[in-house]
Symmetry: C2
């Protein structure tokens, strides 16, 4: 019988720039061979020092104008940080949806101030989430001896559907997509257009255990036998092929 | 420690119209109180007779024209079925993306011919996926005595991100969204814009166990303590508020 287990990694202290995230997680979990560790972008960004104090930011006229159009009434300096993290603005009326330098389309360019200590500090997405996942994976293999996969995840909204779900930004040691095109279904027909976004499904599964307020920034997923290598970039639909960008 | 278990329900025969899906699943699983059962739309549709033979369909001129614009070169009669299931066409160039009568935005209006026996038979989405979930839930409670939640799920594509993920179409016995707005994060700040799409995350998690070709049309998720009632419709973003419809 196919069976998976999801185990929350709890009890992490507030993560600070320079902290050894691999040790913080490895010492609070029993990682085993072929486990996948899904870790929240927030703690990765904190450990990498991807924090900005709004005190050091000056809002441009454009940032002030956009801020005034948004229902959340954000600090215009936060809007400035979002614009600095983005290469394209998709919507700036009521909500701010941009494309980040990585190619991710999300609200507020992934800039966030929840679960960040300090009134005026915000987190940015990791500069290179695949590199973050690879570094953390390397450290976990070193500390535990277990060859694990790592996914750096964040919660994104979606068009057409309400609510946020956890998705994969960075991937190391496992595939991001599984391409079943050309394989055969249970009745012998070739499957068409069936590329499974497994890294996103793993991230979403972990989101059930992480919640949003409980201090569970990492989740172990056990029972998969997924080998190969993938990248968070694999999941980004090329802008030229995107019908909704 | 927060821990969830996902258990595949295997060994179901090919499901036919009129089959007692509750009994087929209940007799092959050990459902316990508060479990959530995620079931693939495909077997729900089959048990409900939501099948159409293309022999009985005549393609309109519009269906023929749209079919010729699609990269998958579908049978124009299949396009006709998709149009009949839809209230709005969002894209009909290269791929066919429509809004179904339920409000779901997805490829091919949820009409599909994979895992369906017969060259010319396609499945439709359940007429009312919440009602399907409620019926199946009632039957499972009756047969097992366990108060379980049920999600009817299907795999959908997304804008901006590649690959398909399993999402919730019908929900019974658990909430579809969890609204955390106004609650406080780990550093004491009020969370904004944080409505978790838990039913979709549950569906995605189950997708990992279902795969697409293995005969695992249902998955038990154990270890949640989620109470309340929700609907697949809760997750549908109202068209008027949708920036990408």
């Amino acid at each position: 019988m196919k069976r998976l287990e999801l185990i929350g990694v709890e009890g992490l202290p507030e993560v600070r720039p320079g902290d050894d995230l691999g040790r913080l997680i490895g010492s609070r979990s029993q990682l085993a061979q072929d486990d996948v560790l899904v870790v929240a972008q927030k703690v990765v960004s904190k450990s990498e020092g991807r924090l900005i104090s709004l005190h050091n930011v000056t809002a441009s006229g454009e940032a002030v104008r956009i801020a005034s159009n948004l229902v959340a009434h954000p600090d215009p300096r936060m809007v400035q940080v979002i614009l600095d993290e983005s290469v394209r603005v998709l919507r700036s009326n009521r909500v701010l949806i941009t494309e980040t330098r990585h190619g991710f389309v999300c609200a507020n360019g992934g800039v966030d101030h929840s679960n960040v200590p300090g009134e005026d500090t915000v987190t940015l997405l990791p500069e290179d989430p695949d590199a973050s996942a690879n570094r953390l994976r390397g450290r976990l293999v070193e500390l535990t001896g277990a060859e694990v996969g790592v996914i750096v995840a964040d919660t994104f909204g979606r068009p057409w559907r309400l609510g946020i779900v956890n998705v994969a930004l960075g991937v190391a040691g496992l595939p991001a997509l599984i391409d079943l095109r050309g394989s055969v279904d249970d009745v012998g027909k070739a499957l068409q257009a069936t590329v499974l976004a497994v890294a996103d499904e793993l991230a979403a599964a972990a989101g059930l255990v992480m919640g949003k307020t409980a201090r569970t920034p990492a989740v172990i997923i056990r029972g998969l036998s997924m080998h190969g290598s993938g990248s968070g970039r694999d999941v980004v639909r090329p802008a030229a092929e995107d019908l909704f960008r």
